[in-house]
């Protein structure tokens, strides 16, 4: 039982990080119908941005909450800029083209970031500095909750709440919903589509950056290829919840994080990566639109 609770806590903590990345996938898919394969690499870049910012600013050597927050916001800003650049120069010129071309471009950007990262940062793994001193908050029996797990859950939940507010209670958010519903109609209503799509990428990339910093804190080993599988799993989480739906992405990510922890805990860690895809196939065969997705019928 204690073991189960421990896995439950670890799973929720992992799941909330997946959630932050999955939101980026689901928002971009909702608005452009594009699987943004580069998103996982934006997340990877954020851990490296965080790594270097922390070193240059000296926070790596003196752990403090303020320092961690500054690094978090700097990395988010840098990644937002990166996401904006990717959309502006790689995706926008191709928007009218067949979707497969857009997808190849996304793969191209992803490869560019991975391989460029290997040259810039070196291919060998690095260790993310301890921005906040690791401490054990709670210790009941065999269950232990570290402050990192709490930070991860609190930070991701607050960002998700903020996102929910932006999407449903601001004008830009309403415009985003309109654009994802129908591009031309939205532009007839006087919405600047280019600006909204840029904003979506900025928002998604900033959230991925937050996830990157949280991962750096909780699992310090970072390398330029860490975004590949993580991104893919976050994407699967988004599909699981119904791609295009933000609450779906969060629920999907929690299911993903929990089931992954359970498989590692009770079964075998080698099947950890297969599980994600197994879940994916089950859900797609049973309910292809995901848990929260809307069914749309195709018309001639």
């Amino acid at each position: 039982m204690e073991e189960f609770v421990q896995h439950l806590i670890n799973g929720i903590s992992l799941g909330s990080i997946y959630g932050l990345v999955a939101i980026g996938y689901t928002m971009v898919y909702g608005i452009l119908k594009l699987i943004n394969f580069a998103h996982g690499d934006v997340y990877m870049m954020s851990t490296f941005f965080g790594f270097y910012f922390a070193r240059w600013l000296g926070f790596a050597y003196a752990p403090s909450v303020i320092g961690a927050l500054i690094v978090l916001f700097l990395a988010m800003a840098a990644c937002a800029l990166l996401g904006f650049t990717i959309e502006r120069f790689a995706y926008r010129p191709l928007r009218k083209m067949p979707r497969l071309n857009l997808l190849i471009t996304a793969i191209g950007v992803s490869l560019l970031l991975e391989n460029g990262g290997q040259i810039l940062f070196g291919a060998d793994p690095k260790f993310f500095p301890e921005l906040i001193a690791r401490a054990e908050l709670l210790h009941i029996g065999n269950i232990s909750i570290s402050n990192f797990q709490v930070i991860v859950i609190v930070v991701s939940l607050s960002f998700m709440a903020l996102l929910q507010y932006i999407i449903f209670h601001t004008k830009t958010g309403k415009a985003m919903q309109a654009v994802s519903f129908h591009h031309e109609n939205a532009s007839l209503m006087g919405i600047d589509i280019d600006r909204i799509i840029s904003f979506t990428f900025v928002l998604g990339s900033a959230l991925a950056a937050a996830a990157g910093i949280l991962v750096g804190l909780a699992y310090p080993r970072i390398d330029p290829l860490m975004g590949v599988l993580f991104g893919l799993k976050a994407f699967v989480a988004a599909v699981l919840g119904g791609i295009g739906s933000v609450p779906g992405a969060i629920v999907g990510a929690l299911i993903m994080g929990l089931s992954e922890e359970m498989v590692v805990g009770y079964f075998s860690s080698t099947y950890r990566d297969a599980l994600a895809f197994f879940l994916l196939i089950i859900i797609l065969l049973v309910k292809p639109t995901g848990l929260f997705g809307k069914t749309t019928s195709e018309k001639v």
């Binding site: 191709l94 471009t105 793969i107 560019l112 391989n115 297969a274 196939i281 001639v300």
Partner: protein, 334 residues
């Protein structure tokens, strides 16, 4: 029909001659690139059947290549090699013939294994449309890889060593020519027209009485059969298989070939397969010049540039013959 068979025989006999000449005149490095070109042609052209001609979006091609490679490698390693060792191995024509017959048998078995997998994957998932199909095939590809990773009798994560190196220039290009000719024949048949109609508009195709799922599954099975053959050829060329060679990056490479060449263009896929194989190698001198491996950055950059400047691919929807024939006609009239 007889004309095609004749062409095939002529090409095969030329390849057979080439099999003796090329390895002796070419240096081993260039020969290796040539072999990889052949394997990539099989991968690209076979994926073109499903992605280009049928217009279905599959990102799991590496999975089928892995199945084919492992099935045929296991067959050769556990059954055919012991069988062959019963005969005297004296490099006579007879023993070479035996070896090659067994090799083709093992390749075909690998192909059938992959096709069977293709059927199992395709049957439930080809009901899905567009991106969802892509995601499912991606998932299946990764699952296949993880399963192989956990099977100990074929090496698991250590990789499968000791596969006999039976692949030759002849067999690789024999199957490359076979997949190209099958694709062309398919494209010009009523089956091919049905597939094209599915690509153009699924609903319209269905409304004129084409059973779209059945046709999609057929295309999928054919495509995975050839991917399996490519896997078998690859396994028997390197003599070593590792699950990490069949990640989704490998599937992307195949998709890049199809899109680069132009969706649905068979000659485009061939040219693109050659380009994508040679390009990273051609950039190698640059690496010696700059001391850092910039190749892997230049490759995606070129890909991006091509997508941005020529989104329809090198050949668009055309074949090489469509581009050349106007010139030939002009010559005749003048």
């Amino acid at each position: 029909m007889t004309k095609q068979i004749l062409t095939f025989l002529v090409i095969s006999s030329l390849l057979f001659l080439g099999n003796f000449i090329i390895p002796s005149v070419m240096n081993p490095y260039l020969f290796m690139i040539l072999i990889y070109c052949g394997i990539n042609i099989i991968m690209g052209v076979s994926l073109n059947i499903i992605n280009g001609i049928t217009g279905q979006f599959s990102i799991g091609h590496a999975g089928f290549m892995a199945v084919g490679g492992y099935v045929s490698a296991a067959m050769s390693f556990y059954f055919l090699m012991p069988l062959l060792s019963l005969f005297p191995s004296d490099n006579t024509v007879l023993s070479l013939l035996c070896q090659n017959v067994l090799f083709v048998f093992s390749l075909l078995l690998g192909g059938v294994g992959a096709a069977l997998f293709g059927y199992l994957v395709g049957l439930p998932s080809l009901h899905l449309r567009g991106d969802y199909l892509g995601i499912v095939t991606l998932g299946f590809g990764e699952i296949i890889r993880v399963i192989i990773l956990n099977l100990d009798f074929i090496g698991g994560a250590r990789g499968f060593t000791g596969i006999p190196a039976w692949s030759t220039f002849f067999w690789i290009y024999f199957f490359a020519v076979a997949v190209v000719m099958v694709s062309f024949r398919l494209l010009r048949s009523s089956h091919g027209r049905a597939l094209l109609s599915i690509r153009e508009d699924e609903i319209a195709a269905e409304s004129i009485g084409i059973p779209i799922t059945r046709y999609k599954v057929k295309a999928f099975v054919l495509s995975s059969f050839f991917a399996g053959i490519a896997g078998g050829l690859f396994a028997h060329f390197i003599g070593y298989l590792n699950p990490s060679s069949f990640t989704f990056i490998k599937s992307f490479e195949a998709i890049i070939i199809v899109v680069l060449g132009g969706m649905g263009s068979i000659s485009g896929a061939i040219v693109a397969a050659v380009i994508t194989t040679i390009l990273p190698e051609a950039l190698r001198p640059l690496q010696e010049f700059t001391k850092t491996d910039f190749r892997m950055v230049i490759y995606p950059l070129l890909l991006l540039t091509l997508m941005l400047t020529r989104p329809e691919g090198l050949f668009g929807n055309k074949e090489l013959s469509d581009i050349i024939s106007p010139f030939l006609k002009r010559k005749k009239s003048s």
